[in-house]
Symmetry: C2
Subunit: 309 residues, 2 copies
């Protein structure tokens, strides 16, 4: 029986492992199907993790975390978790995709969420080299430059407004001339002088060279338009990686928001006692390394407190 | 008129400054009466800030933060803020103790909280060299050693239980034989084999040498008892540094908890629009650098969003 199972090896999971073991929990295992480090490891430039003053790659930022986290007894196992179940004794069973299981007193879920692909030629090739899914992370790298925002939902329009404070000009490229975003948000964007709406426009190709993105080709009214920008931000939704919480009957182990994020309070407690969520999987996650990391610390302190009851 | 005033220069304030200016806010000033860095700068050993793998002093941990935070346009001014007022136009006025004032659209309060002194001889001399006010931070440094916990409130007893998982033995030294802590918590502590209650005991002196604390002298039933321990954790309450929120009529600008902490939601919003709280001043603050820092980032992103409305 574990004291704590941590599912996911990004900043949230690694910090949960650090705090829980340093705080005295003896049997703590973090399960991650790939290498620990999380989504940030695919970022080419990070300059806003407090205390790391150099501009580093996401890989560089995270490289020492597993060593620091395992220093106090945390075990990390490369295993794919399929499902978490609540038992009648209020403990949990973690079921792996190879059929193995392990029981645990508490669980911290930090499997995150991933941005959906827009499905455009060049999107993968230039990801991290001009194609971004995070304005807070990467907007500043396009200070006084022009960028494209792809999408028509609330996130797309809000992030376009955010970028319009930093960038010289923002093109909002959208397939339709109507928006899923709220009319108020769209109206605010329309009042920004440096936002141009490019509507009824189908994105055809992101192109560039060895240095990164050079522009986006869109088809609009039967003609091809070439928008020359060094940065393209895609906001076409996120997949919340909550599969491990799905139960056999299709319901979820704890309460989720409409979009599938785990509902938590300030202590990262979910609706189920002993089950915590941390990082990008939770509601209102700012999707920043320092925030995910803080969530992990908070959840770990709660798990320790529960173990000592 | 500022876009944002940040009050307090610890990890929360510095990160709020980094995120708000990097996110495009133009006029942002952080006010700190002393040098930036916060309470952590008085810690002699920090090993749980994620990504900083060496054991460093708090001063070393924080030394590069101001440079990183000011890189994107944040101004830091050494000024003592006396009061924050809400104006009828929903902006705020910050009043300094020298009588100057400045108006601002948003305010992030991160003035923190400080542990109260127990008032024992040697407490100041050995602070950071055996005397601690944070079990999460320093407990691990006493792994398999004996420690004293001073106090009889909920925090004292809960932290003693936390420490009992890490340390060989925990003495709870308390002036009375009754507790402010809830009976359930006291009962849990009594069931821990390695916790000894030293009751009706008046702490006389913390003694030690150049290497740090060696023990605590207490008076109990007219006799002096020498408890030889290398670590003494004092939990005799905290002063929440919320003075800047106090209004002329004695009320507070936003809603506080019974103990004076600012009530916030997951977005660090207080009960007043445009006023945010971050770090140790808020309810349920874990009092960790990474958590305060995350709060600052979250509050900054909210202030940006408000500015663009």
């Amino acid at each position: 029986m574990l004291d704590l199972a941590i599912i996911g090896g990004g900043p949230a999971g690694l910090t949960a492992g650090l705090y829980s073991t340093r705080g005295g929990l003896k049997n703590v295992t973090l399960y991650e199907k790939g290498f620990p480090g999380g989504q940030i490891t695919s970022s080419s430039e990070v300059e806003n993790y407090p205390g790391i003053t150099k501009v580093v790659t996401g890989m560089e930022l995270m490289q020492d975390w597993p060593e620091q986290s395992t220093r106090f007894g945390l075990k990390i196992e490369m295993k794919d978790v399929k499902q978490v179940k609540l038992n009648s004794d209020k403990n949990f069973t973690v079921i792996f995709s190879n059929g193995e299981t392990i029981d645990t007193k508490s669980v911290i879920v930090c499997t995150g969420s991933v941005p959906k692909k827009a499905g455009i030629k060049g999107e993968d090739e230039f990801f991290g080299r001009g194609v971004s899914t995070c304005a807070t992370c990467d907007g500043f790298f396009y200070k006084n430059k022009e960028v494209v925002v792809l999408g028509g939902g609330d996130t797309a329009i809000e992030e376009a407004i955010y970028l319009s404070e930093i960038c010289k000009k923002v093109y909002i490229v959208h397939r339709r001339d109507t928006f899923r975003a709220s009319p108020v948000t769209v109206e605010r964007a329309k009042h920004r002088e440096n936002i141009e709406f490019v509507l009824n426009a189908t994105s055809k190709e992101i192109y560039g060279d060895g240095s990164g993105v050079l522009g986006l080709l869109v088809e609009q009214n039967g003609e091809v338009r070439d928008i020359k920008v060094p940065g393209i931000f895609t906001f076409v939704g996120r997949d919340i990686l909550n599969d491990v919480l799905k139960q056999d009957d299709g319901s979820f182990l704890c309460e989720l928001s409409e979009s599938g994020e785990v509902i938590v309070d300030l202590n990262m407690k979910t609706s189920i006692e002993g089950l915590y969520a941390a990082g990008d999987i939770r509601i209102q996650a700012p999707k920043q390394v320092v925030c995910a990391s803080s969530d992990g610390a908070i959840a770990a302190l709660q798990a320790i407190s529960r173990a000592l009851h």
